[in-house]
Amino acid sequence: MKEYIIKKLLLLIPTVLAITFLVFSMMQFIPGDPIFLLLGDMYDQRQADELRREHGLDKPLIVQYAWWLARLVQGDWGRSIFTHRPVLDDIVYRIPISLELIVLSMLLALLIAVPAGVISAIRPYTALDYSVMTLAMVGVSMPDFFLGILLFLLFSLTLGWLPVQGYVPMADGVINHFSHLVLPAVALGLARCAILTRLIRASMLEVVKLDYVTTARAKGVVEFLVVNKHALKNALIPTITVLGLQIGFLIGGAIVIEAVFGIPGLGTFGVQGIIKRDYQQVQGFILIVALMFVFSNLLVDISYAYFDPRIRYEGRGK
């Protein structure tokens, strides 16, 4: 297992390098010459050339990339054109906010999806199964931001049970903090929950047909244990793969949900940057999102190997 994790960590280096290179190249595509922006009306060819030399913009792109990368590693992610604050500072402040939302909604999704999928699968083609599957279909088709708005309309505006939009840091009271996060997390989690439920049901249906489940039943294992220990554990393996994919969707969904509920997370930061064309901010946003995605995939890979020992030994002894 240790060997496997080390191998995966080493593989991370080229991946991260590739991502930084892609982001760097992408920033070259963006219309607009930075020197021109900097000088504005005072544009003058000689001064422009000088500034280009000063900033290393006359060097070949690959050299520029190396410099840029060196600055990134040292923690210099540039400054926002509008607020002049270091981009990395803003990102570091916002990461926990978005991460908390993502983790909460993921937990919520799993908490509902696992029992719902299992129940649906052990009683297939019954009224119960059909209602779970209908709800899942509705969940898959429901735009998460619209669901968020509906929940907000019901629980905050009509019933007044939960506070109106916004974000309250943990320091201002735990209850206050979570009461602001409940609706965003539910809105974000339910769509994933629907997808996971369908998947868990499908893979449970496959697994319960397999021989070892029949064996377990034949030797008199209690049905509860057959379902939860023998079948579910194996049915969860494909679920973990999809969970990895879902993390990407969660990061994307969080961007939209943050906009609905006015949460000052990474998504809000990125969307503001894109609309204002603040490219330093956008660059930081894309980098951090890509890194989050890569690291979450690493976690998924590791847990995958934990659940399925076959993965760990793949490629060994060849």
Binding site: M137, F146, I149, L153, G248, G253, I255, I274, F293
Partner: protein
């Protein structure tokens, strides 16, 4: 002399199998209804999408004159919801055509020739596929200006690998079939073989993926427009209207609910039809 077995077209077979599932039939019905709505928007919508109709009043709740209420600028929300369906269909269908055009040949070639070419193509496709569509679309929108056409282009690009993968997978299984051996024996040209004999037998997964993709395309377009990164006014779109009306949700929730419902119902329709088609076209997944 009557033939013992009547030849059945893929369409006839599919329709027959579709009709066995209620949810698929509902999906088909809803999709057809939505197509009619989008096509006849001029006839159905009582007002123009940008027409100021309420005579100075704004944010009115639904009434007989204005079935879904009136927005801040005094525009009829019902008419806007109807006209926006055109944008949704435009995005849904054109983006898929854009990804099919390069996706199908890439998958055909990779699957048919195999070897290094296959490995190279699929590696590039897998790298793109590793990133979630929505995030990729956002990144592409950074480079391109936010507009409906650019959303279509972004969605078209990010889905190429999905089609390449789907087509390659079916080519791999189709090319082992006996009738392809027969085609080999006839020594027909490569192109003719690929497009006349192999591709038609890969159509089922392409159709299923496309139907489900329309649903996600519409979801993504409305999410992007909701963020202000997609369709821009004055073009009417559900996502943008939702965003613009959201500020007034405490005064008039209806003008928020209806555009949202429109997105939901359209996505639901294509998802239900797509699921039904998958069950109908892929006998292995049949219950």
């Amino acid at each position: 002399m009557t033939p013992k077995y009547r030849a059945r077209s893929l369409l006839g077979l599919t329709l027959r199998r579709l009709s066995r599932s209620y949810s698929a039939l509902w999906g088909l019905f809803m999709v057809c209804a939505l197509i009619v709505v989008a096509a006849l928007a001029d006839v159905i919508a009582p007002y123009g999408p940008a027409e100021i109709v309420a005579g100075g009043s704004s944010l009115e709740p639904p009434s007989l004159q204005h079935l879904m209420g009136v927005d801040l600028l005094g525009r009829d929300v019902f008419s806007r919801v109807i006209y926006s369906s055109r944008i949704a269909f435009y995005v849904g269908i054109v983006s898929i055509v854009l990804s099919l055009l390069p996706g199908i040949p890439l998958g055909l070639v990779a699957g048919f020739y195999g070897g290094r070419l296959d490995k190279a193509v699929m590696m590039v496709m897998d790298i793109i596929l590793a990133f979630p569509i929505f995030l990729l679309a956002i990144v592409i929108m950074v480079i391109l200006e936010p507009s409906t056409t650019n959303v279509v282009i972004a969605l078209g690009i990010v889905r190429i690998p999905i089609y390449a993968r789907v087509v390659r997978g079916s080519v791999l299984s189709v090319k082992e079939q006996e009738y392809i051996e027969a085609v080999h024996a006839l020594a027909l040209g490569r192109l003719r073989m690929l497009f006349r004999h192999i591709l038609p037998n890969c159509m089922a997964p392409i159709i299923v993926t496309s139907t489900l993709s329309v649903a996600t395309s519409i979801l993504i377009e409305s999410s992007l427009s909701f963020l202000g990164l997609g369709t821009q006014p004055p073009t009417p779109s559900w996502g943008w209207d939702l965003k613009a009306n959201l500020v007034f949700i405490d005064i008039n929730p209806w003008i928020v609910i209806f555009p949202g419902l429109a997105i939901f119902l359209t996505t639901l329709a294509f998802n239900m039809l797509g699921d039904g088609l998958r069950d109908a076209l892929d006998p292995r997944l049949k219950r």
